[in-house]
């Protein structure tokens, strides 16, 4: 994807949750674009709405108002089955808790992402192993998540998110459970992928140390973007 192409565009996105009879606004009219090859960090205090925004950008959660366009396609009003197709076609996800399949090996965990896209057999095995090698796990193919360290699990999750070569990577606190050095190594991998493969990377994080790897830091408070750029840290 050519650098500068807008892959994600949020327009007036708002989200309100209902807790019993009380309506709690989580996002209040967010406008945001993310370009190909860009690494963007979403930062802000707990409860500021950054994970909600990530969910809406990833077409996992529908906004109460506003719209999200993915690679130029407006996703507003699409049924869940169509949204699932959009997710499958464009997104790779990295979750805070890794969300690996505990019963599958590292290679099989990665292969699931290919299987969902119809890639099977030897080709899927080869690509899964290549993805694991790319994140430095070339000797962990057959290991299960319980036998891997936190950093290794996160690398498996990254390999799974990347193996199908999605346009956009969305990562929720990918370094939260990692020590400083491992966290930096993980972010460096994501940065490398964005730069060399022209993918958009959006990361929700509390960790200011990884800001150095981002092209842009977006600060959210009370459901609004209150600033963008390195100076907002």
């Amino acid at each position: 994807m050519a650098a500068g192409t807008i892959l994600l565009a949020a327009r007036g996105v708002a989200k309100t949750f209902r807790l019993g009879k009380v309506e709690v606004p989580a996002l209040r009219g967010v406008d945001l674009t993310v370009e190909a090859g860009e690494v963007a960090l979403l930062m802000g205090p707990s409860g500021s709405g950054k994970t909600t925004l990530l969910s809406i950008l990833g077409c996992i959660l529908s906004p109460s108002a506003g719209s999200v366009a993915v690679a130029g396609r407006d996703t507003a009003g699409l049924p869940e089955a169509e949204l699932a197709k959009v997710r499958l076609a464009h997104f790779g996800f990295i979750f805070q808790g890794y969300n690996l399949f505990p019963t599958l090996t590292a290679e099989e965990n990665v292969r699931v992402a290919l299987d969902l896209r119809g890639v099977k057999g030897a080709d899927a095995v080869e690509r899964s192993r290549e993805a694991l090698c790319a994140v430095g796990l070339d000797d962990k193919f057959r290991m299960r998540p319980r036998d891997l360290s936190g950093g290794q699990k996160q690398r498996v999750a990254i390999a799974r998110a990347l193996v199908a070569e999605p346009d956009i990577l969305l990562a929720d606190e990918p370094t939260a459970a990692l020590d400083s050095e491992t966290g930096k190594a993980v972010i460096a991998i994501l940065r490398e992928l964005a730069v060399t493969h022209g993918r958009s990377v959006v990361i929700v994080t509390h960790d200011p140390r990884i800001a150095a790897y981002a092209d842009r830091v977006i600060r959210i408070e009370d459901g609004r973007i209150v600033g963008q750029g390195q100076e907002v840290l």
Partner: protein, 376 residues
């Protein structure tokens, strides 16, 4: 990957897998045994009818089953002989009687009196002695499985039937009675004596059509030419007897209800354990949905789990069932598990497990993929 994920999910919790398989095995064995009893009993009710060479059965008007009927007067036999198309007709006796064991004690038996020369109504598997020996006075044939019940050990042993002497001259194999009264084959002449029937009376007249005459045509001809009798082809009388014992008496329904209970209980156990397995793996299913997995992908994982449980459970269950059938064979019970029934039970097991899995499918269908960002 779908099958791999399904199998790994099942194997992840061995205890739960054991409970799941126990549920399937329980259902398979219960259905197989109850169904086998149903088939065995059904066949037993009509085994004499279906294994004789008689194509037409004539009984006094109002007969409801093979075992209980009013005597036919002798002139009916001669009227039947006079119907065009009759190739051969023989008198045949079926009567309950009292068997007095040599060492004391009594048993109810069912006397089958036939003409050993004609072949009509004879015992179809004789393993010791001979059918011809039944022409001797007081000669009877008993089945091997009832020797102990009748208090005899084999050929030559003596007993009494309705206070008249009886001597075992032949042994049959696998000729089970549906009632608790074993069949005792003997000649028509001996049967008259044991059944205390009047001279030349009979319970049935068995008829074989003349060459070129169909059973249906001869049945109609006898029904038209002989008043106050019921006439059946072999198949008709077999069905009538089966229906009487299995449904009119409620015995068959009881067996079918017990088999249905196996299906329900097994289904509930499987549904519960598959549901628990699904709930255990909800985070993974949520992750799949977040990644963009279509609903069908996740549903197929659950169906694959159910089918895998069905296959393994059926394998164990049918093995146990055939073992029990073997035990029953030696114990005198009549459990029949024909291959067709085993195949049908396989598909029933798969349907039961997949249906049980539908509860889990409802659960995963309702997963909010956003759960992956809530640390669920």
């Amino acid at each position: 990957m779908i099958i791999r994920i399904a199998l790994r999910n099942l194997l992840h919790d061995r205890v739960r897998l054991a409970v799941t398989l126990t549920g399937v095995v329980f259902a398979v064995v219960l259905i197989a045994v109850q169904g086998g009893l149903f088939v065995g009993f059904t066949r037993a009710t009509s085994c004499v009818i279906e294994n004789t060479e008689a194509e037409i059965w004539v009984a006094s008007r109002g007969v409801r089953n093979f075992d209980v009927t009013h005597p036919l007067p002798d002139h009916k036999f001669h009227q039947i002989l006079g119907v065009p198309g009759v190739g051969r007709a023989e008198r045949f006796i079926v009567r309950f009687a009292n068997w007095k064991k040599p060492a004391g004690g009594q048993e109810s038996v069912e006397i089958i009196g036939f003409d050993p020369g004609s072949g009509l109504g004879r015992p179809w598997i004789v393993t010791a002695g001979s059918e011809a020996a039944l022409l001797l006075p007081d000669a009877v044939a008993v089945d091997e499985i009832y020797l102990a019940k009748l208090g005899v050990k084999g050929l030559g042993d003596r007993a009494e039937i309705n206070d008249r002497r009886a001597r075992v001259v032949a042994l049959t194999r696998g000729i089970r009675s549906f009632t608790t009264s074993p069949y005792i084959f003997t000649s028509y002449e001996n049967g008259l004596k044991y059944a205390s029937l009047g001279r030349s009376q009979s319970a049935y007249v068995l008829v074989r059509p003349a060459p070129g005459v169909t059973a249906q045509a001869l049945r109609d001809a006898i029904a038209a030419g002989v008043p106050d009798v019921d006439v059946f082809t072999r198949e008709e009388f077999a069905r009538k007897t089966q229906h009487y014992w299995m449904f009119t008496t409620g015995a068959g329904m009881a067996l079918l209800i017990a088999a249905s209970l196996g299906l329900v209980v097994g289904g509930v156990v499987v549904a519960q354990t598959l549901y628990a397995t699904t709930v255990d793996h909800l985070p993974e299913f949520g992750t799949l949905r977040a990644m963009g997995a279509p609903g069908g992908y996740i549903h197929r994982i659950i169906v694959a789990q159910a089918v895998a449980a069905a296959l393994v459970g059926y394998g164990f269950g049918i093995a146990v069932s055939y073992f029990l059938v073997g035990l029953a064979e030696r114990g005198g019970a009549s459990i029949v598990l024909p291959p067709g029934m085993a195949v049908g039970l396989f598909f029933l097991t798969v349907v039961m497990c997949v249906t049980a899995g539908l509860v889990s499918i409802r659960k995963v269908t309702s997963i909010d993929p956003a759960m992956v960002f809530r640390g669920a």
